[in-house]
């Protein structure tokens, strides 16, 4: 027995010192830029950071093209879209997870809480196996939206929308969509298509294109800035709904508008990459150890950290067993579970006890 007191951390009750936001943003941005440049060089074909910079510079019209055609194509057509998609998806999932955890006051909330990932999976499987004539990202997005709509409709039956009802309804819709997905897979899948589906269900960035960068990046920028502008309102939820209302926050509208926006963001992410787990669950907790819970600090730093993490996770996924690729969701789970265990041991916050 080291101590019988559970409420006082080793700091003697002092709140941890929190580094200035500017420092965190500077460190995060530097790490992200370095990550992007280095991650593009990793893989078959011997590329250097200098070559990457020259190739990108040429495509942006900043300099004359002088990189060998093959290397230039690897950088610009293959790796860069993939790395940028990974960054946008990682950032989006981290931001979405942080917001969901605050709005539901539930530390186990993640971006897929409202049935989004199962709905997206059902949409994707319908395309892959049943030959529904839709582009896969479109089908996944439609599936996610359908699940969201079903969840909110179910949560609204017989009374007001509360976070608990939304979580329970999301659980039910998730199970339903998962069962439907399993049924379709069980009934129609053959050996080859099975691997393709599994890879999608676990989350994968292998199909990333410039269109994925536009979808994920666009959703991140639009939803991210709206949510960041409302960061103060999210903070006001710390002591619950009544306290937030007494501070002048329109509780219902804030909760449902923000949840819907975040669900759309998540839908866009799932559409380009499948349901990548753990980023949205674990990162907000890990980042808030450094930033504190204030959303104006937490959201941007979580976004940067999510971007860096998912780029490296995806780089591992495509290189460790080269030429075979792992679904990146396996890597994020392998990274995420130990981090989660450490956070649990630290027992942060009353709601974890």
């Amino acid at each position: 027995m080291r101590s019988t007191r559970t409420d006082a951390p080793a700091t003697g009750g002092r709140a941890p010192l929190r580094p200035p936001l500017a420092v965190l943003l500077a460190v995060g941005t530097t790490a992200l830029v370095a990550t992007l440049l280095v991650a593009v060089t990793i893989g078959p074909a011997d590329l250097g950071v200098g070559e990457v910079v020259r190739s990108v510079g040429a495509h942006l019209g900043l300099r004359a093209p002088d990189v060998p055609r093959l290397h230039d194509a690897i950088v610009w057509e293959l790796r860069l879209p993939r790395v940028l998609t990974a960054a946008a998806v990682g950032a989006g999932l981290a931001v979405a997870g942080a917001v969901m955890q605050s709005l539901t006051r539930n530390p186990l909330a993640d971006p897929y809480l409202l049935g989004l990932s199962s709905g997206a999976s059902l949409g994707a499987v319908a395309v892959l196996l049943l030959g529904v004539a839709l582009l896969l990202p479109v089908a996944a997005f439609v599936g996610a939206l359908a699940a969201l709509a079903a969840t909110l409709a179910l949560a609204r039956t017989g009374g007001t929308l509360t976070p608990t009802r939304a979580v329970l309804a999301g659980l039910a819709i998730s199970q339903l969509a998962a069962a439907a997905t399993s049924f379709v897979v069980f009934w129609t899948a053959t050996g080859d298509s099975y691997r393709e589906i599994l890879s999608w269900l676990m989350g994968s960035l292998a199909g990333a294109t410039w269109a994925s960068v536009a979808i994920a990046g666009g959703a991140l920028v639009v939803v991210g800035s709206v949510v960041l502008a409302g960061a103060g309102r999210l903070d006001a939820f710390a002591f619950g709904d009544t306290a937030a209302a007494a501070l002048g926050v329109h509780v219902d509208r804030t909760r449902w508008v923000t949840m819907t926006l975040v669900a759309l963001l998540t839908g866009a992410m799932v559409a380009v990459s499948g349901a990548i787990g753990f980023v949205g669950l674990v990162l907000p907790h890990a980042v808030s150890v450094v930033t504190g819970p204030a959303h104006r600090r937490l959201l941007p730093v979580a976004g940067l950290a999510g971007a860096v993490l998912l780029v490296w996770a995806d780089t591992l996924a495509r290189t460790v067993f080269d030429p075979r690729e792992l679904p990146v969701g396996i890597v994020t789970a392998l990274l995420g579970v130990p981090v989660f265990a450490v956070l649990l041991r630290r027992g942060r916050g009353a709601s974890w006890s």
Binding site: A238, G240, A246, P293, G349
Partner: protein, 264 residues
Amino acid sequence: MELSIAGAGARLGGRWVVDGVEATPPPGALTGLLGPNGAGKTTLLRLVAGLLEPHAGAVLVSDPAASDPRPAVPVHTLPRRERARQVALLEQASDAAVPLSVREVVALGRTPYRSVWGTDPDPGAVDRALEAATAAHLADRAWATLSGGERQRVHVARALAQEPALLLLDEPTNHLDVSAQLALLGFVRRLGVTTVAALHDLNLAAAYCEHVLVLSAGRLVAAGPPGEVLTPALVHDVYGVAAHVLTHPVTGRPVIAYGPAEDG
């Protein structure tokens, strides 16, 4: 702030939890809101806070100190941010789900003043509120490590950071030791802000409140200075216990001695 509760009522699940309450708590003073569990104290506070729209009657507020004195308006029709700059509510047993520092908790009180970019037009307000609530020494502590009395003091600082003209406290002395109870109510009374506090302890109400409102089953059954309102007959009618009212040897205020119970 001048507060006028004009026949306010609220239904919950078909039952009138607050029913036709008429009262005008004195401005700038501490008013005690008394009554047994389930009498409707919390619901009445939510009505007065403008968080609940009355199903009957109205709660009217006006600020005679304002530079442009306006007629009294129903509090629930005030724009949310403006209302939060005028009315602060301390809930019963309110705890945070996230690891905040004391300063961050108090800064939440500045929410209705912040711009969309999160800047506070009055950066010194948090420190002043901490100072006023004698909680400045707690500023860098982690919220989770505070004692009950310290938490209540920080909650008061958060409410003061809203710079309210009307302060509403829901059982602020619950879970506090005697000295913390006396310190809190003495401090609130000295603020000179119109305050309505739901209280369970009749002796605390008698000692600190200028005015008391007594609720029973949603209705206002008595209102006035504690010396006039807190009679043995009223305590018996409302709480169902025998009581004797004595006089405090120093302050001259009423002291209520309970029992013995009628059935022995």
